[in-house]
Symmetry: C2
Subunit: 476 residues, 2 copies
């Protein structure tokens, strides 16, 4: 009898504990996005990989819950929004498992994955209540272009046109855009719109956006859905263009232009895009994010030149505005996002030698600084890090002209050869004219070096610091 009673008591205790666990479960929605092909898919794959394989040789010394032995285990559980694509961890992981390994296929739109992380609470109040707690982590992956669209919410069609046309008329976009703008200027904006002409022009504009991104290595791509249309492919809502001649038309005529006129149709479609595409993303997703990581490849723009780098800077400034509250902010307090931590990570740190990492981080800091200085970020903690989601190179020293110089070794993407190289030095501060003349840095793409097994931890640089910043405080 005594035994049975004890068993029953244990069961009751365990049940009560379960119940308590449920009520004190923590929850974080982490948004992951990226600029300039920064390796979003590799990042999420590595983050999930490090957590679910913790214990199997993981290297997370700077992630406190692991360092202090509180971390128990993490596993994938069914995601929250089942109408959103699942982030395909298994397929992405298989790219690193294959022989030879490769980078995973990039994702095309929004996707989600959810983890349950079990840990022993230490410092927090929780420790008095329970021996085990669960942090539920929702990771949402979305294209950086969607983030860059947010400023449109505060722009009229006229403002957006002027802003965009100014951009198109500046180098390096000017050369590619001139023909397009000349064509648009010849159209009488008050004549009845020719829908087929508008389709052609918007296709031309979309091709320009692709060229800006792929050929010129630029980051400011607007409207973002034009290059990733998803379900909207073929819909007129993606068929508008910036209008370059606002200076030449009468404001009253513009106000009174019907939706059937050329300018009126552009305006109507812009408004619909704002409301149906941009605001919908804002309301359905953006406002629900707790924490945001923005991945940026600073190295490729650095290699591409001053204009590509300046464009990255502008993109970062646009992004920061979306997180700014206050009088001059993009959004009113009521509808403001609730993000409390914002991490900018410069990816591909393994593509430079180790002593350059501090320069990469400091350079990213400099890119962010002018905006943070102007704006008031009381409510948001920000951080910058130089990381490699999946480390593709090994680092060492090589003897060169009697001196030990730092080098990296890896499998070069262009010819699949193992090379040992010093790719050059990264400036600590925003590069000046002299830097651009000398261009002392040469970016070399590398493929992953060694395959891993499916349940092995991926090699990385500073993913533990990423985890510490994004999750550490929630697992105390």
């Amino acid at each position: 009898m005594a035994l049975i009673n004890k068993e029953r008591l244990e069961k009751l205790k365990s049940k009560a504990n379960d119940l308590l666990n449920r009520t004190i479960d923590q929850h974080v929605t982490l948004a992951v996005t990226g600029l300039s092909r920064s390796g979003k898919t590799a990042f999420i794959t590595s983050l999930v990989n490090q957590l679910i394989n913790e214990g199997s040789g993981s290297q997370l010394p700077f992630f406190t819950p692991v360092h202090q032995g509180q971390f128990i285990a993490a596993k994938r559980i069914p995601q929250k929004n089942i109408h959103i694509a699942r982030f395909d961890y298994d397929s992405s992981m298989s790219a690193f498992v294959n022989h030879p390994p490769s980078w995973p296929e990039p994702t095309q739109g929004i996707s989600e994955i959810r983890l349950a992380i079990r840990y022993k609470p230490k410092d927090s109040l929780l420790k008095y209540a329970t021996e085990m707690a669960t942090l539920v982590l929702d990771i949402t992956d979305y294209p950086g272009e969607w983030l860059l669209d947010l400023p449109m919410l505060n722009q009229t069609f006229e403002q957006w046109s002027q802003h965009t046309v100014t951009l198109l008329l500046e180098s390096p976009r000017r050369e590619l855009s001139q023909g397009f703008l000349d064509k648009v200027k010849e159209i009488d904006p008050f004549q009845d719109a020719d829908e087929r002409l508008l389709t052609q022009l918007s296709q031309e504009y979309t091709q320009l956006l692709h060229a800006f991104r792929n050929d010129l290595g630029l980051s400011v791509i607007q409207p973002g859905r034009f290059i990733l249309p998803g379900e909207l492919v073929g819909a007129p809502i993606l068929e508008f263009i910036p209008f370059p001649n606002f200076a030449d038309i009468d404001a009253n005529d513009y106000q009174n232009a019907s939706d059937e006129s050329f300018i009126g149709m552009l305006r109507a479609r812009y408004v619909e895009y704002k409301e149906r595409v941009v605001r919908q993303f804002y309301q359905q997703h953006f406002v629900n994010f707790d924490r945001q990581i923005v991945l940026a490849d600073c190295l490729t723009p650095l290699n591409k030149g001053a204009e590509s780098f300046a464009d990255l800077k502008q993109a970062i400034a646009m992004i920061l505005k979306s997180y700014h509250y206050g009088q001059s902010s993009l959004f009113s307090r009521i509808f403001s996002p609730k993000i409390d931590k914002l991490l900018f990570a410069a990816t591909k740190a393994d593509h430079v030698t180790q002593e350059q990492h501090v320069h990469v981080a400091s350079l990213l800091n400099e890119l962010i600084h002018p905006s943070t200085h102007q704006l008031n970020y009381d409510a948001i903690k920000m951080k910058t890090l130089a990381i490699a989601s999946v480390r593709a190179t090994t680092s060492g020293k090589s003897l060169h002209q009697g001196q030990h110089v730092p080098v990296i070794q890896g499998r070069r993407s262009s010819d699949d050869k193992i090379i040992t190289v010093f790719p050059g030095s990264v400036p600590k501060k925003l590069p000046n004219d002299q830097y651009w003349q000398e261009s002392p840095f040469k970016f070399i793409g590398f493929e992953p070096l060694h395959s891993v097994s499916a349940h092995e931890c991926l090699p990385h640089i500073r993913m533990d610091q990423v985890l510490e910043f994004l999750l550490g405080d929630k697992m105390k």
Copy 2:
């Protein structure tokens, strides 16, 4: 002075007339869908083509507004919902313009096109008010599978499973489905769901649906989005399957099963599919349709055999339920669709000889009759027609064993050869066992015979009767 005044007066009159026209404009939303690869794209292309080129050699004697000289002109105007893909008339039309002509590419989801049709009102009250009126015609193209999903709205997961499993266990689906069902039966429905297993099983089920449609020529494909996922590709909402073992599980256990269990997860995803996919289509589109045309290819199922034909019959019965109001109806009166005319068109009438057309129409009537008989369609006018949206053959007589027999001539799809043939006779009534043993009809696919110029009318069979039924009463 007098001249100027007269001019001004004319302008004012014309303006007043314009204003009047706008207020009395008529509007029809025509929904077009199809079963069994019935040629939806060719149909919409031909319908638009006949209307916008009217006068350029069009053959529309049975379309009263044309016959009585009231028809003025039709043109394409910007569509209503600009976030919906545009029906790409120009691309589809170019398939018929090319040398040699071909059938247009099928559309993949929902698309829209809008026409403004100008006409002189004759019999209606309008004639006293205006000399010219406009009928705005919105054409919405959507996959037949979406229509077949509507009955799910009135089914629980249990009911849907039982209905679907019964179907899977019947010939001809049984042979393909048995392995899949055996696998599902081995799963403990109350264990924690293994999401990856569920992904695999739903992929297997989706492959079955594709095989039913493409290999067996079946019409009842459910859930429809599984084979046309669009924006939902990769989302868990498309990862559920019918559960075959309801007889073996306790009703209470089922009711209490958590969403994390295998059966609970199936149920949760089914419910979400119903609410987010099926109901959304119903509310955003279906309830707004004024008139519906359902295209059905009766000839291919007739050729495929008794089971394929029976499946077409079941699909038609399922569709008819969506249009039925009343006590036992699918939807309550309040949320019921407002469709007042429903046309079933048997397409590819040009693939049989001319004297068989009446049989094709009568056969389609027989397919529809059992359902219409049971249900009460007071509010809806129904009609059946045998048509060819774009006529691909010419018909004539050939001397065979001393007798003049009817034949058709066309370019056979399989080998691109011009052949003259009598494809066989179509039964007037639902075929009996004897018919299926003899199979006197052999379906031969034909490509379009002659190219047309872009502004020429496409050859057709009974498109004028289609127009008369769907639009004639709105243009009086």
